[in-house]
């Protein structure tokens, strides 16, 4: 099995990658190639060129602005899992990274690549939406910042324009006392989730969010996160109302939210 022929262009810098991307409508960015790779091998995707952005120094930059940290999109899941990339959430990213696929995949797959691939069941898609993170997109016309929960528009489809790429993820530092829960249902370890949910409980920062993932398209941030976290709103009803007409049987998502709520409740507060 071999992919259909394509040209290979190792980018030497971010600007070089952007130029190459803008110049070739049939080109595709590749970082770890862990999600695109199977599609290439099966010839479901047949791009004319791959622009390899793995290892670009600009995609491994870290900027701490005090309240938030920008993490370069080029870090691998394994680097996040191992703490070699910063985790402003005090461990929540590390735990999520460690549950992505398998170690051999995590060693090459990247944060930005997974987000841009936009498999609706991918871990970073729901985790970043649940955290209320922002994605920093860069194109030929400069940078723009998009909320992670508005990034995915459908299965494998995003707001990325043809000349844009994800360069960083911006994550707010949680307040002392903040808690987090993430739960996903997979039938086998490492496969894509059939349902997932996150709970961010950071009342001091005014951020109490509950989000659902693995919905086939964009993740959903539930309307009354505070009510769910504080037990005033029934998770079952909230999930069924939010997914009405979208998911035939939301039972798995109800369970995912209940378990994420329980995980957040049991979690040690961030210090």
């Amino acid at each position: 099995m071999k992919p259909a022929p394509f040209a290979y262009r190792p980018a030497t810098s971010l600007a070089d990658a952007q130029r190459a991307l803008a110049a070739d409508a049939d080109a595709k960015l590749s970082a770890g190639n862990q999600s695109l790779g199977p599609m290439l091998n099966l010839r479901l995707a047949r791009p004319g060129a791959l622009i390899d952005i793995a290892g670009l120094a600009e995609l491994r930059a870290v900027t701490d602005s005090g309240g938030a940290v920008r993490i370069g999109a080029g870090f691998t899941h394994a680097e996040i899992e191992d703490g070699e990339a910063p985790d402003p959430t005090l461990g929540w990213l590390r735990a999520a990274a460690g549950a992505i696929a398998h170690r051999a995949v995590r060693n090459r797959g990247t944060l930005g690549g997974s987000l841009a691939h936009a498999d609706p069941a991918a871990d970073w898609v729901i985790v970043m939406a649940g955290l209320g993170a922002n994605l920093v997109l860069a194109g030929t016309n400069g940078e723009r910042v998009v909320p992670a929960d508005a990034f995915v528009t459908g299965p494998f489809e995003t707001v990325l324009r043809a000349d844009e790429m994800i360069v960083a993820v911006e994550i707010a530092k949680p307040s002392p006392g903040a808690r987090w829960g993430y739960w996903k249902y997979t039938r086998q370890v490492g496969e894509f989730a059939k349902a997932s949910a996150t709970v961010l409980d950071d009342p001091a920062a005014g951020r109490q969010r509950c989000a659902l993932g693995a919905l086939g398209g964009a993740p959903v941030v539930l309307a009354d996160g505070a009510g769910l976290i504080e037990g005033r709103v029934d998770p079952d009803g909230a999930v069924r109302a939010a997914l009405a007409g979208r998911v035939a049987d939301p039972q798995l998502h109800v369970v995912a939210l209940r378990r994420a709520l329980a995980a957040a409740k049991q979690a040690e507060a961030a210090q």
Partner: protein, 391 residues
């Protein structure tokens, strides 16, 4: 076109040539005859091809040879003098950690990584870490026992350790590696024979099936919508990318459709048949098709009903049952199909409503953001055929 790459393989500097599309496992096996790296699924699932790149285990089938230019690769053949790997090999033998041996090179690579990275791993953790390597013989028990035994007896330190991340900035400006001339688009196979309705499998006869049910409001009178449904040509025209190639008697039809979903493209060509009940404003559609390039097959059965609404509109309800087989089925999870279906439906329904109201239909989008599977569903849903056009 092959171009030169230079790698450190098992401690030796190796210069070779590889096409851009050649993955590391093929390069190792075909160019260097290092056939200890096994290829199972070639889509990142089975783990048989696991090798070390810069000291980290990776999938050699999902790693391009060119992406490893200047890096260090270690395969199962490269551990002759490695005390930890020797210990693991002995333990695999003692604990019956292999039978046919196909998964063993990948298992040893993962086992090596577990031992050096997670010296405190218990049985559950070992099993979780091994989940990316499939074995069809041993039931895993012997493999887990071998790793536990090595951990318990205090393994020798690992000689192979991950190297610090190095930015893959080329030392000199890299040459683009151009793609070879691409062959023309693959033609559809020999046209399938149009078959009568009863010759297609019904919903309950489709194996491995999934179901998609929707009830949608169409902003147009029921009679006008039904008139469109009765004419497959008008329905096909309303579905972006769909095209009817042939319309036989008794509701048989042939068509095709190309769809794009993210980076994936598929072109389904197929045949089908419909059976209408004008009095009950309902119908059934059955069909089958194939995306020849990815060798993905699709069979579907659909039942729909139209009902007038009090507000003058039409309620369309349908249940589509479909079965996918082949490569696309790997990515055709029902939740994705449903989401993609809804996007196509939204466009198609809007177009149907405009046409049923006699308004000029907007031009169909040049590229349909949908799923190939979908194609089949929608085709069977409204149309009776399809055909699409890629930009």
């Amino acid at each position: 076109m092959s171009t030169a790459i230079t790698l450190d393989i098992n401690g030796r500097t190796v210069a070779g040539e590889a096409e851009p599309r050649t993955h590391l496992a093929d390069f190792l096996r075909e160019e260097l005859l290092l056939t200890g790296t096994h290829l199972g699924c070639e889509q990142g699932v089975c783990g048989a091809c696991t090798v070390f790149v810069d000291g980290r285990p990776v999938r050699a089938c999902l790693t391009l040879a060119h992406a490893c230019d200047g890096q260090s690769v270690r395969t199962v053949e490269g551990f002759d003098d490695d005390a930890l790997m020797a210990r693991l090999r002995d333990a695999f033998k003692t604990h019956h950690g292999l039978q046919c041996g196909f998964c063993t090179p990948g298992m040893l690579a993962t086992a090596y990584d577990i031992v050096r990275r997670l010296p405190q791993a218990d049985t559950a953790r070992i099993r979780r870490e091994l989940s990316g390597n499939l074995c069809r013989c041993t039931g895993y028990h012997g493999i887990v026992a071998a790793i536990e035994a090595v951990l318990a007896e205090g393994p020798p330190p690992a000689a192979l350790v991950p190297t610090a991340h190095r930015s893959r900035m080329p030392r000199e400006a890299p040459a683009d590696v151009p793609a070879p001339e691409r062959t023309a688009a693959v033609a559809d196979g020999p046209a399938s024979v149009l078959k009568p309705f009863a010759a297609y499998p019904a919903a309950d006869a489709l194996t491995g099936e999934a179901t998609l049910a929707r009830s949608i409001t169409i902003d147009a009178p029921c009679e006008a919508v039904w008139a469109m449904v009765e004419n497959p040509k008008t329905i096909a025209a309303a579905i972006p990318g769909a095209h009817l190639d042939a319309l036989g008697e008794d509701g048989t039809l042939r068509g095709h459709l190309e769809v794009a979903l993210g980076p994936m493209r598929a072109r389904f060509a197929g045949v089908g048949a419909m059976r209408l009940d004008p009095a009950g404003r309902q119908g059934e559609l059955r069909g089958e098709g194939q995306d020849r390039l990815s060798r993905t097959g699709l069979a579907a059965a659909l039942a729909f009903t139209l009902a007038p609404r009090e507000d003058g509109g039409t309620q369309l309800s349908f249940t589509a049952t479909y079965a996918l087989n082949g490569p696309l089925a790997q990515f055709g999870r029902p939740a994705l199909v449903a989401a993609a279906a809804d996007r196509i439906l939204e466009e198609a329904i809007a177009s149907i409503a405009r046409r049923a109201r006699g308004e000029e239909a907007a031009p169909a989008p040049r590229r349909l953001g949908g799923f190939a599977l979908l194609v089949g569903i929608v085709r069977d849903a409204f149309a009776r055929a399809l055909r699409g056009r890629r930009p």
